[in-house]
């Protein structure tokens, strides 16, 4: 087959004259899962630093956290590296007991020393995701006193306040709380960096797969972990190939040269519907699509204008046609599936109502405003749809296209009018989104905390206090009610037009079974995949 392809290629090089088609059926090796994904966002493989979608998924398949949850039912929390835990009477200490007899891929045993090392390390390295643990009152200065080993297989995790138990547990399911092989990492320590420089491009975990190789902008290769404490993975290898162009991904999938395509567009998905060799797998993700309306803009700061904007988005067309299955309509700041998620969608396209509101705001003829728009095909298409519907009420929406980092730079500096964005939760607890959509303790330009509410200059001392209160509410039902109230407030008065929740769609060859598409990227699992 290869010989014939080679000859055919030679023939092609002679300007494709007289070449005879060489029939061959491409397929991937039976023990190797090959995926095409745009993986150029990976900047580190150290769990203390990983925050990108792609790297989170890789860590989810190669590291183990202390605690996990069932991706189908996130309220079902269970121990992964931890056997069990108890909460002290004052609610400020969790005592963990580790599972016995488990090992890292290196063969080193997993002990409480590793768990303590990993958590303290993450706080002290203080990379982007460190706040997930840091928000529980653990700082680089007090970490050694707050996270303390109490026995070979037990340790205490202390906090500065009696935070809601679900919040604490969900924080410990995040990638940043992965258990790292202390012995291996410290063998590579340099200048007191806890092995960070080495671990950025290497691996020291215990998950079902090991990270074998990362070639930036080219590939990531995972291999079966022979020392994994659970069932051995059916696949010996999982390969992520960096294929940035979605049409190329589709061609490779249809041809059978890859098993899974990860970045298919709505157009690709509908084109694949008729292909019997390919199936579509999907799962609801936690990411939300929204518009951020800067309150420094004289028009957008009017409450009626903010309200009117929410009636000028054609939610159904965006979800059903433009994104065709890649999102669902969702308007609350907590994604469906989260504790306290408010799943009612009160807004729909209603131009007459929007006009009334604009008249009440004193701008019956509308106004002109700009929107910084990331230049990807899907974001651009959604922005153009909004441009059309807003024009019906006299709002002239000028789209300013830009690269992702460029629009984000402007947004973070509060120099936008409107920003069309996507926000993914950092962990599975409602506080993750409440602390950004409904929290802004200091609206000054030089504030140190800059949540989304700050970026849109929304000054909300009362709502911020409510978010703080929900963070420490021990009763889960009461806590859920507090978040529902917060979401209603943001819907009615907030500068956010939240319009959709992401659905992750994968195109798979029909022989692929066992892929788990979880609510966050570190829940996506390939440990049980067969083909």
């Amino acid at each position: 087959m290869i010989h014939s392809r080679f000859l055919a290629s030679v023939a092609l090089s002679a300007l494709m004259l007289g070449a005879t088609p060489a029939i061959s059926l491409a397929e991937t090796p039976p023990d190797t899962l090959i995926q095409a994904w745009s993986i150029d966002d990976i900047i580190s493989l150290d769990p203390a630093e990983i925050f990108e979608f792609t790297a989170s998924e890789i860590a989810g398949n190669s590291y183990e956290t202390l605690i996990g949850y069932d991706p189908q039912n996130v309220s079902d929390i269970f121990g992964k590296a931890a056997e069990s835990w108890t909460v002290s009477e004052d609610g400020m200490t969790l005592s963990f007991k580790m599972k016995e007899g488990r090992t890292f891929a290196s063969g080193n045993p997993i002990t409480a020393e590793d768990a303590v090392f990993s958590l303290v390390r993450a706080v002290k390295l203080d990379k982007s995701p460190a706040f997930i643990i840091g928000q529980l009152g653990i700082t680089p200065d007090n970490a050694d006193a707050m996270i303390v080993q109490t026995g070979p297989m037990s340790f205490d995790f202390k906090m500065d306040k009696p935070y809601a138990p679900t919040l604490v547990l969900y924080c410990l399911t995040a990638t940043v709380a992965s258990v790292v092989d202390k012995k291996l990492a410290m063998e590579h320590e340099a200048n007191g960096d806890f092995g960070y420089d080495w671990l950025k491009t290497n691996y020291a975990g215990s998950g079902p797969f090991m990270i074998k190789d990362w070639r930036p902008n080219e590939a990531v290769i995972l291999e079966r972990n022979p020392n994994y404490s659970g069932d051995a993975t059916p696949m010996a290898r999982v390969i992520y190939r960096h294929i940035p162009e979605t049409s190329t991904q589709r061609l490779l999938l249809e041809k059978g040269d890859i098993d899974i395509a990860r970045n298919l567009t709505a157009e690709d998905i509908s084109a694949l519907q008729g292909n019997a060799d390919v199936k579509i797998e999907s799962g609801v993700k936690g990411s939300l699509y929204y518009l951020g309306l800067n309150q420094k803009n004289e028009f957008l700061s009017k409450p009626e204008v903010r309200q009117a904007m929410k009636y000028l988005v054609d939610y159904d067309t965006i979800a059903g046609t433009i994104m065709a299955g890649k999102v669902k309509v969702h308007q609350g700041f907590l994604p469906e599936g989260f504790l306290g998620a408010y799943n009612e969608n009160p807004f729909s396209l209603d131009v007459a109502k929007a006009k009334e509101l604009l008249a009440a705001a004193g701008v019956p003829e509308g106004f002109k405003v700009t929107m910084d728009t990331r230049n990807t095909p899907e974001i651009t298409a959604m922005a153009q749809a909004m441009q059309q519907t807003m024009a019906q009420a006299g709002i002239e929406l000028e789209l300013i296209p830009g690269d992702g980092k460029q629009t984000l730079t402007k947004y973070r500096a509060r120099n936008h009018d409107i920003y069309i964005g996507r926000w993914g939760p950092d962990f599975q607890d409602p506080h993750t989104n409440a602390s950004t959509f409904a929290y802004n303790p200091n609206n000054a330009d030089d504030a140190t905390s800059k949540p989304l509410a700050w970026r849109n200059a929304w000054d909300i001392p009362e709502l911020s206090a409510a978010t703080d209160a929900a963070m420490v509410e021990p009763d889960a039902a009461k806590r859920a009610e507090m978040y529902i109230a917060d979401q209603k407030t943001v819907m009615e008065t907030g500068p956010f037009v939240i319009y959709a929740q992401e659905i992750e769609v994968m195109g798979e060859r029909k022989n692929i079974e066992g892929v788990i598409v979880g609510p966050s990227f570190n829940d996506n699992s390939f440990a049980h995949v067969t083909k």
Binding site: I2, S9, T32, E218, P244
Partner: protein, 350 residues
Amino acid sequence: MVSNTLGGRRGALWLRKIASTLGTVAVTFLGLLIVTFLIGRVVPVDPVLSVVGDRATQAQYDAAYQALGLDRPLVEQFWIWLQKVFQGDFGTSNLTTRPIAQDIARVFPATLELATVSIVIGTAFGIPMGVWAAVRQGKLVDQVVRVVGLVGYSAPVFWLGLMGLLLFYFKLDLISGPGRVDISYEYDFTPRTGLFLLDTAMQGAWGAFGNVFSHIILPASLLGYLSLAYISRMTRSFMLNELAQEYITTARVKGVPEWRIIWVQALRNAAVPLVTVVALSYANLLEGSVLTETVFAWPGLGQYLTNSLQNADMNAVLGGTLVIGAIFVGLNMFSDLLYTLLDARTRNRT
């Protein structure tokens, strides 16, 4: 005595020429780097974002800002970078977290291999087509060659690439798909030079060689076609100029065979300016074609530089700029050298 003086003068002339070339190269590089550095700093992208992401706290942001040296004046930043370069340290990429030299050593061979195969195709077909069109000026052949050239100039490379994949890879199954080599052959050879055709051939991994060839041929043909469009047009123009010269008429009068007049006498003279055309085409290809690299998932310099620029990863951008600068300077010097060999008049001038 006389010959000694002459030899000494010639030696001094050579030395002066070398010194002047080196001076020009140094000034060119410095100018190139200053401009690239400034462009990188005025691009409205915050380089800290690539390092700490969107969720970092202000303290983390400030720490990264300082670690990148962005709190210092621009001139100082550039001076620090330049000093390190002279010590052989090109810095680390924010995106890949690896030394720039290591990154470029990884991505450049991919581009070099693709560009080399492309320029061979472009030259092998472009020059004869240009000669043919010049000889048959105004005839059907000439029109066809011009249309082929026009299409090569005007068709979007992105579209041509996708259509090529659809036809030759997907429909006809003549070639392998995107990427440099199939996974099943990846471990059949050790990528010593990073030029997979060379590596596989040197190690006798002929199965892998065939696979690498079947991967490279389509993107190389595509880029070769784009070069061909330029080379054939320029060849035609140079040849028309040569064929109108008096020495051609004299040769014809003398009864020199027509093939010899065209392919030996006229083409040899046309070859002098053609060297520059081919060298420039090659240099353009060596910069990396980001669109072709994207469609064909080719992990080359074009993709690397574009990604770095979009993320304001300045060490990577400056490192890549140095490589491209070196390519242009190197190829210019090479074509100068070829000039001297091909054209006796330039030889005598020294």
